[in-house]
């Protein structure tokens, strides 16, 4: 891996994505052991810096760092206390002075990780920047699809829900297209961004049209604030039109799997029956998330003789 930071899947080549997934396969074996620890990153420091709430992503990164024997420091930044731009640069310089080798950053502003990366020697991993990208989520999704289906190329993956505001979908589209999958999106018209057809994504507003032929049904979390913003009429209606139930799932291929980035709104975007069925691979996604993040930390953390450029 010749890059300093992992900012998004848009900038990664197919070979780089495959290398991360292959490395994650080796890491997956480590977390299956009784002793889930290898000495690889002894003496390295990983800082997690979250300007937005998150449980699973942060927990997953910290666990990944610990499995590799790195030390972790975690900084919870209250969004309100941090002004964008200047504040971020100063924080980056501080983290640099503290000697962190990798920084995992989540921030409400798109591009925050890229800015941060320019002012620190550490490897910066984007753990979600506004509506832009969430690369490690997409990588764990790709890994899970490959694990479940044996391949990615030639599969049809359908995303259902709030496409407009989803950095998870954005990262996944880049990754899936690069690895040769067909991508469909389906949601209410108010939550579909323009321009998806131009990058080769098929857009649907009716599940009945979108689901047939799907190998993977990827259900997105419905954020309640979308109702307040007037983008959606109400929870019940959304559930009736777009909720993934057993009956709806029957429209997809018989062996189709169901994915969800979590946390779930049971009974809204996904029925409890589907979420708890053998078709859902949501818990596998969480486990694979640790392996994929171990791979990213291993591949990105600088070596002594490394002189990756930075300002």
């Amino acid at each position: 891996m010749q890059r300093k930071d992992l900012l998004g899947l848009e900038e990664l080549g197919a070979d780089e994505i495959r290398m991360i997934l292959d490395t994650a396969g080796a890491m997956r074996e480590v977390i299956r052991r009784d002793i889930k620890k290898v000495p690889t990153l002894r003496g390295k420091v990983v800082a997690t810096l979250f300007y937005e709430p998150s449980t699973r992503t942060r927990f997953s990164f910290e666990l990944a760092a610990k499995h590799l024997s790195a030390d972790t420091i975690s900084v919870a930044a209250a969004t309100s206390s941090v002004a964008k731009g200047e504040g971020l640069v100063d924080t980056a310089k501080t983290i640099d002075a503290l000697g962190a080798d990798a920084v995992v950053l989540r921030h409400p502003a798109a591009g925050a990780a890229a800015v941060f990366g320019r002012y620190t020697r550490a490897a910066v991993i984007n753990a979600g920047d506004g509506m832009h990208e969430h690369p490690t989520q997409a990588l764990l999704d790709l890994y899970t699809i490959q694990e479940q289906k044996g391949r990615i190329e030639g599969l049809t993956v359908t995303f259902v829900g709030d496409i407009q505001h989803s950095r998870v979908v954005r990262s996944n589209i880049w990754g899936l297209k690069k690895l040769g999958a067909t991508v469909r999106v389906c949601g209410p018209r108010t939550l579909l961004p323009p321009g998806l057809e131009e990058i080769g994504v098929a857009v649907f507003t009716r599940l009945e049209d979108a689901l047939p032929g799907s190998d993977v049904v990827y259900v997105l979390r419905l954020q309640r604030e979308r109702f307040a913003q007037g983008l959606l009429p109400g929870v019940e209606e959304y559930a009736r039109l777009y909720g993934i139930t057993r009956e709806r799932l029957a429209l997809a291929k018989p062996e189709a799997i169901v994915m969800h980035p979590g946390p779930l709104n049971r009974g809204v975007e996904i029925s409890a029956a589907v979420a708890d069925s053998g078709r859902a691979v949501i818990t596998q996604q969480v486990t694979n998330g640790v392996a994929v993040r171990m791979a990213c930390l291993y591949l990105l953390i600088r070596r002594e003789n490394d002189d990756k450029a930075y300002h």
């Binding site: 292959d22 080796a26 002793i35 290898v38 690889t40 070596r303 002594e304 003789n305």
Partner: protein, 180 residues
């Protein structure tokens, strides 16, 4: 890299492995509780072959696993690149087993040190032994092989290249020299 001499041909490798298989059986008084674990990459096909030879001689199968030692290397912080990590695949419990680690060449001993750490993270073998196709000397750690195909005195400028059919397409051991 300039090739200086061929040390073993395919027949030589076959004969050395056959002798080593006999020695492994003799040293362990049979194959009870025996397991072979190859160190990636070239130790793995060698372990598979030793297991096949042991089956021929004793009529009993011994489990074979593969170990990737990348995550245990002591020079990771000194490298300017990240070595690729391959999967460790040991799908049997190693605790209580008589484990023979298999590698193609032993040199400084650092790979074997890493393999010992990796193996002990998987469990607690009763005994760990080491089988190598070539011992080229220049040890930097107090580690020795129990079963050796061939001892080859070398200078540090020289490189031992083991070619294994399963990985390299041909089958021989050559000694080469780095050309400055």
């Amino acid at each position: 890299m300039k090739e200086k001499a061929q040390i073993m041909d395919a027949e030589g490798i076959r004969r050395a492995l056959t002798r080593m298989a006999h020695e492994i059986i003799e040293r362990n008084k049979g194959v009870e509780n025996l397991a072979l674990i190859g160190i990636r990459r070239r130790g793995v096909p060698l372990a598979v072959r030793l297991a096949a030879l042991i089956l021929e001689i004793e009529g009993r199968e011994v489990p074979v696993g593969s170990l990737d030692i990348t995550l245990y290397r002591d020079d990771l912080t000194q490298l300017s690149y990240q070595p690729l990590v391959y999967r460790t695949e040991v799908d049997f419990p190693v605790t209580g087993k008589r484990v023979v680690l298999v590698d193609d060449v032993i040199y400084t001993g650092r790979t074997v040190r890493a393999a010992l750490d990796a193996l002990m993270d998987l469990g607690r073998p009763a005994v760990i032994q080491l089988a190598v196709l070539v011992d080229r000397g220049h040890r930097e750690l107090p580690i020795r092989a129990d079963f050796v195909g061939k001892n080859v005195p070398t200078s540090r400028k020289e490189v031992i290249e083991v070619h294994i059919r399963e990985i390299d397409g041909d089958e021989r051991v050559v000694i080469s020299e780095r050309v400055e």
